[in-house]
């Protein structure tokens, strides 16, 4: 195998920057929405806005196009990609990433497509059902000829495509599910299941670690002495609850309520009565399926406690309108918000997405956008480093994804997958919220400087991604020395 310009491995391999082909056509061009250029002669590329499409490196040498003439199909495995926000964000963002790559080439390298190869996105609808996810994976790979797939929401869906992945030796990059089991399986049965990667979000153990880190830093500052914890009783939250339970008591004076709430809960009044009776300051929640009813009833009943944690519905831009603003003051972890600047590329992406789809993406959108571009860049660099003239095999793509770091992310500045020997292999490397800036802690707020007729998804932590201070429910009567009154 040819020498790599940048490699990594367990504990950190040597890296050297990939200057040879990196030039003016990189991240800045993507961010700026600069010039567009038609490629003459029937290459199959079309002009799209969003980048330079540079065909020369910064040194003035032409970007090589050894894969010219190839078309590489990639598949999106999204739940209801036409309507469900998490699925729609996956599919929309994949299309944006493909258009960017076809027009502007690989981030940091330029050209058109992946060194001349055109990307073609195909949509699969998993309907958030494991069985359908497997069928759609097989259709995309075996019938449509997709070289890789991206997406899957719900870890059960991801796990259902593990055997087809193994049978067809196809790379799948998860971009919307948090369960840690896929990463564990890759570690334990690497030869069979090395095909699976996750570009994000961080897994549920890391999410719990992030919540503990957040509470450790912010609980006192925000005036939270006593807490209740209510985590939805669904499998993806098991690791989250397991990690939180022995630790959270150390961060508060008391945690009188620690419960797994039924995913079938419709009437929250008895639970809110219990939390309120326990006289806590903050109700830490983990909610994916029951979030709407819980928030609506919390706000309608003006409950005497603050609320937040992981609240999936609150990550959806339309949620404000759906609940008539009842989500104001609710906070949740998120990967990005329409306000945050995780990297210099975040806001340009968010604005372009908004302009095109008239909404903002959920976390699965930016992660998918990063995943597709990371995949493209890994392929491009592998081809260049090995002086290849053909599209790498999927086996080679596993090696490429393990090897190269993607430095042009919009959620994290760089994406580097954990090595096979990691307990959770092929996952995004994450150390801490403080170091990486994610997850961000988003709170629905009213901010007339941003918009006067809609809620704003501000981020109040961590510091590097903060866009506003935390705000307190206006129906709670706080003592004069409480941070709410400072």
């Amino acid at each position: 195998m040819a020498d790599r310009s940048e490699t990594r491995g367990g504990g950190g391999r040597d890296r050297r920057s990939f200057l040879k082909y990196a030039g003016a056509g990189g991240a800045a061009a993507i961010a700026a929405g600069c010039k567009t250029r038609d490629r003459p002669g029937g290459s199959g590329f079309t002009t799209t806005p969003g980048g330079s499409g540079d065909e020369e490196t910064s040194e003035g040498t032409p970007v090589p196009q050894p894969l010219e003439g190839n078309t590489i199909r990639i598949g999106s495995l999204a739940p209801q990609p036409d309507s469900f926000p998490i699925g729609k964000s996956i599919w929309d963002s994949m299309q944006m990433a493909v258009e960017d790559i076809n027009q502007n080439g690989i981030p940091g390298i330029g050209g058109r497509g992946i060194l001349g190869a055109k990307l073609e996105p195909l949509s699969g609808n998993t309907e958030a059902s494991p069985g359908t996810a497997r069928e759609e994976f097989n259709r995309l790979v075996q019938k449509e000829g997709c070289k890789a797939t991206f997406g899957t929401f719900l870890t059960q869906c991801t796990l259902q495509i593990f055997n087809p992945m193994k049978a067809t030796q196809t790379v799948h990059i998860t971009t919307a599910a948090t369960g840690p089991k896929p990463g564990r399986i890759v570690h334990e049965r690497y030869d069979e299941f090395k095909w699976h990667f996750r570009a994000g979000p961080i897994n549920s153990y890391d999410l719990a670690a992030a919540e503990l880190e957040f509470l450790n830093i912010y609980a006192d500052q925000l005036g939270w002495s006593d807490a209740a914890v209510l985590i939805e009783n669904i499998a993806p939250f098991d690791p989250f609850a397991e990690t939180l339970k022995p630790e959270v008591g150390n961060l508060f004076d008391s945690v009188p309520v620690f419960k797994r709430s039924s995913s079938g809960t419709i009437n929250w009044t008895p639970l809110w009565d219990e939390v309120e009776s326990a006289d806590v300051d903050i109700n830490l929640i983990g909610q994916a399926l029951t979030g709407t009813a819980a928030v609506k009833q919390w706000a309608n009943q003006s409950r005497d406690f603050e609320m937040g944690g992981i609240h999936v519905p609150s990550q959806v831009y339309e949620f404000w309108e759906e609940v008539s603003g009842a989500c104001q003051y609710v906070f949740t972890m998120n990967a990005v918000t329409p306000q945050t600047e995780n990297t210099e590329r975040t806001q340009p992406f968010m604005k372009r997405y908004r302009d095109r789809f008239d909404t903002f993406p959920v976390y699965s959108g930016p992660i998918t956008y990063d995943a597709v571009r990371a995949y493209a860049k890994a392929m491009g660099r592998y081809v260049l480093d090995n002086d290849m003239e053909e599209v790498p095999t999927n086996e080679a793509m596993v090696e490429a994804l393990e090897t190269y770091t993607f430095e042009d992310g919009i959620v994290l500045p760089s994406i580097q997958f954990t090595p096979p020997e990691a307990d959770f292999a092929h996952e995004p490397q994450w150390t801490s919220m403080k170091d990486t800036g994610v997850p961000v802690w988003q709170q629905w707020q009213v901010d007339e400087e941003v918009t006067d007729d809609y809620g704003v998804m501000h981020s109040f932590a961590p510091e590097q991604n903060k866009t506003s201070d935390y705000t307190y429910p206006d129906w709670i009567d706080y003592p004069s020395d409480h941070p709410a009154n400072q």
């Binding site: 209801q80 309507s83 469900f84 958030a128 009783n233 419960k259 709430s261 039924s262 079938g264 809960t265 419709i266 009437n267 929250w268 009044t269 008895p270 639970l271 009565d273 219990e274 009776s277 029951t290 979030g291 709407t292 009813a293 609506k296 009833q297 309608n300 009943q301 003006s302 519905p313 339309e318 309108e321 759906e322 609940v323 008539s324 009842a326």
Partner: protein
């Protein structure tokens, strides 16, 4: 630990809602002898209509208009159901039971596909806010539900016992042939009953959405509850339905408040099984078999 006052208030509110649902269910059984398994879907229809009318993402009308719209839409759908399907198979109970069951699922899935998808949805409350009485905080929506349910129950009682149409409903429920002898058009009476019962289901759907949230499948659990309630109270008995609603509502609230929230919907099923085995005729009515 949740205070007893809170539990009682919650139980009264939810029981009142169950009573509205169960009265409609028992009316149709009492008059036409039909176990209407599409009753849950009519609850969903009411909720979905109010969502379309009063949610800010749709028409954004006042929630009161959503309540009226939900009631009217469910009543119209109920009438269409009777005129388009039920009246043709009224004498075939098994076919009818299966048809209402399937149509109920069809309506709910149509709501999922064409209106709200799989997500929960919400509408604003017609009476937001809270009131404190004797140190106990009451949510205004709960007071509204309790008062509205009381008015509807009383109005139904007066309508059935005092008006000509109401007496005709009673007559048909006792004997369709006897009613026909005195010139009562049983089909017309059945249609009125379906309109009334469906309107009740629609109102319940809107109130449930205002109090909690709505979903395309939201009618299923209330249908099972309604079934449990009318078995408990006695099939066809309005008085029994009200009493049954309060027994089920209180039992459920107490178990979910003091034992586990995961018991929501479970207690009613346990009671249903026990009652069918021990007292199938219910507290006030005819034998379920």
């Amino acid at each position: 630990m949740t205070s007893a006052a809170n539990v009682i208030v919650t139980a009264i509110s939810i029981s009142s809602l169950y009573a509205i649902i169960a009265i409609g269910f028992t009316l149709i059984f009492g008059v036409g002898g039909v176990l209407n398994f599409s009753h849950g879907a009519l609850i969903t229809i009411g909720a979905e209509a109010s969502y379309l009318l009063s949610n800010p993402t749709n028409l954004g009308l006042h929630p009161a208009l959503g309540l009226v719209g939900g009631m009217v839409t469910a009543a119209v759908v109920g009438a269409i159901l009777y005129l388009g399907v039920v009246q043709f198979v009224e004498d075939e109970p098994v076919t009818l039971l299966i048809l209402t069951f399937i149509i109920g699922f069809f309506i709910q899935h149509a709501c999922r596909v064409f209106i709200t998808g799989t997500s929960d949805f919400s509408v604003d409350q017609v009476t937001p806010g809270e009131t404190t009485i004797a140190g106990v905080t009451l949510f205004d929506i709960d007071i509204f539900i309790f008062v509205l349910a009381a008015v509807l129950i009383a109005a139904t009682g007066v309508f059935v016992s005092r008006t000509k149409t109401g007496k005709a409903i009673l007559a048909v429920s006792m004997s369709e042939k006897g009613a026909a002898v005195v010139g009562i058009d049983a089909r017309k009476i059945n249609l009125i009953t379906w309109l009334l019962a469906s309107a009740f289901a629609g109102i319940a759907g809107v109130l449930l959405t205002m109090k909690q949230t709505g979903a395309w499948s939201m009618g299923t659990q209330p249908l099972i509850l309604a079934f449990s309630i009318v078995i408990l109270g006695g099939l066809g008995s309005i008085k029994g339905s009200v009493v049954g609603a309060y027994i089920i509502g209180f039992t459920e609230t107490i178990t979910t408040s003091y034992i586990s929230s995961s018991l929501q919907g479970f207690t009613a099923l346990v009671l249903l099984i026990v009652l069918l085995l021990v007292k199938p005729e219910g507290l006030f009515g005819r034998e379920a078999a």
